[in-house]
């Protein structure tokens, strides 16, 4: 069992939901595919999608919804 980290190349505000009223893209423990969107980063009012980039059995988020992140910060771990 190995773990892959999902990094954000951009700094900004991290969101786990597509909009405040929506459910999260993924819950802790959900399986993911490489193409799945797992969150958004807001950089100066522009929104960029973050994808899992690897297939995995379970995702664990390291950052809360609406939290500030730095470029290169790990935002989630994916168990393969």
């Amino acid at each position: 069992m190995s773990k892959a980290q999902v990094m954000s190349s951009l700094p900004g505000t991290f969101y786990r939901k597509p909009s405040p009223e929506s459910p999260p893209f993924k819950q802790d423990g959900d399986p993911v595919s490489a193409a799945d969107v797992i969150g958004l980063v807001e950089l100066m009012k522009n929104f960029e999608e973050i994808t899992a980039d690897v297939d995995g059995k379970a995702i664990t988020f390291l950052v809360e919804d609406g939290e500030a992140i730095m470029a290169g910060q790990a935002i989630a771990e994916i168990e393969s």
């Binding site: 900004g12 100066m44 009012k45 522009n46 939290e67 500030a68």
Partner: protein, 448 residues
């Protein structure tokens, strides 16, 4: 005046501008800031500063409870909302007043009324202000909508009654398209705004965006002429000027009189802007909306009229009657404002936070630079990309454009990409110089 201290409930270049106005009026300015803005120019310039929360705006500059707590802690008399964030949030204006503070702007009820597109349009109709032909308010159903478009003709826009920022807008050029798009727009409005209500109006194209600055003290209302704001990208203004070029005097007079009539209709208090669409071929103008706050582009008006709008709105909020009469407002020369954003115009305007290495700003008669910058400052990634505005004033549009071109060559911001090179190209573009600008000009020009 009853205001001796102001809480600046905003950030960036407008916070700096408000602090400057407070200093000129002998008022103490207390700057709120997020954890990411502790090193900001506004914090450095203010008399006091209070941290209100973590970097994301939802937890700081949009946090009404944190702002009111700061106002109490600072013991201020008034709260200035700037633009953006909570500036047009009626609940914030109400909460400020309920907390015992003066809100620098119109009261919550006025913001609520003018912030509702349908209600604002009805106010405009009552004040005799021309509105875009369309449904007067929401359409009840598809049949009613189809009858209306049969009268006004195509192309038409279908808009969400509760929408904003261009979301939920669709354009139909014929009846088939209209029949297909109307249900889609309703479904999207219902999911985006929890309100499927729609209205329809005629699409004016090509159109210019021209807006009129107003001031009111609740009893007297004046205009400070117009600004031409057609240079836009993704519905965001990029470059503004005043006065609007090639505007017939009769049209200018009627447009400005309309804005004053609308202000009078609601007993407006404060500084505001009435936005119009102008159809140059028909020389007709139509009401779009009212912005119940100071605008980013207010310096254009300040440069050509000599009126300090930010000081004026603080004086009005403090209970002073409007000291300027309409006859005192005289336009002198021409002014152009360029918005300098932390975006890379060579890379699809990708936003770009980072550290400012050097900052060199040309000085001279008729040159003004409103900004949040200093050398060594690190632009945070959490907020708007607007770094500042270069405003240039001269005796007419041609001399103003020449001065702008020269000034842009001397304006140096290094460390991050900015939109300065875009403005340098625009200032010398033959179509811009000739004034052949409309609201779709810039996007077409960028895609050449």
């Amino acid at each position: 005046m009853t205001i001796r201290s102001v809480l600046v409930a905003n950030r960036g270049e407008i916070a700096v501008r408000i602090i400057q106005a407070c200093k000129a009026l002998g008022i103490r300015a207390v700057q709120v800031h997020s954890a990411a803005d502790a090193d900001s120019l506004a914090v450095r310039l203010a008399d006091d500063a209070i941290e209100i929360g973590p970097p994301p705006a939802a937890k700081s500059y949009l946090n009404i409870d944190a702002l009111l707590e700061a106002a109490h802690a600072a013991g201020v008399d008034a709260v200035h909302p700037g633009y953006g964030f909570l500036a047009e949030n009626a609940d914030f204006a109400d909460a400020v007043a309920a907390g015992g503070f003066i809100f620098v702007g119109p009261d919550g009820d006025s913001i609520r009324l003018l912030g509702d597109k349908v209600a604002a349009r009805q106010v405009a109709v009552r004040a005799g202000v021309p509105t875009v032909p369309g449904s007067d308010g929401r359409v009840e159903n598809f049949d009613e909508a189809r009858d209306i478009v049969a009268t006004i003709g195509f192309p038409v826009m279908i808009k969400a009654a509760a929408g904003g920022g261009g979301r939920g807008i669709r354009v139909a050029t014929n009846l088939d398209e209209f029949e297909r798009l109307f249900p889609q727009a309703s479904a999207e409005a219902a999911s985006s705004f929890a309100d499927g209500g729609l209205y329809v109006e005629k699409l004016i194209d090509p159109a210019r965006h021209i807006e009129v600055q107003i001031l009111g003290d609740g009893e007297r209302f004046i205009h400070c002429y117009e600004r031409e704001c057609s240079m836009q990208r993704r519905r965001q203004k990029v470059w503004e000027e005043g006065p609007a070029f090639d505007l017939p005097t009769t049209v200018r007079d009627a447009m400005c009189a309309s804005a004053v009539a609308l202000a009078a209709e609601v007993g407006y208090r404060g500084a505001g802007t009435v936005e119009f669409l102008y159809d140059p071929s028909a020389q007709s103008f139509y009401f779009i909306e009212v912005n119940t706050r100071i605008q980013v582009e207010h310096p254009v008006t300040e440069m050509i009229t000599g009126i300090d709008l930010v000081q004026s709105m603080i004086r009005i909020a403090g209970g002073e009657p409007l000291s300027i009469r309409q006859d005192d407002v005289v336009v002198n020369g021409h002014a152009i404002e360029c918005r300098i954003n932390a975006e890379d115009p060579e890379n699809d305007f990708r936003p770009w936070p980072g550290t400012i290495e050097t900052l060199r700003v040309p000085e001279g008669e008729g040159i003004r630079f409103d900004s949040l910058l200093y050398a060594g400052y690190t632009v945070p990634p959490f907020y708007d990309s607007l770094l500042g505005k270069l405003i240039v004033h001269d005796r007419d549009r041609n001399t103003c454009l020449a001065k702008l071109s020269e000034t842009l060559k001397g304006l140096q911001v290094t460390g991050i990409p900015t939109t300065i090179p875009l403005h340098a190209r625009l200032a010398e573009d033959p179509a811009v110089v000739a004034g052949r600008i409309h609201t779709r000009f810039l996007e077409t020009w960028l895609n050449r």
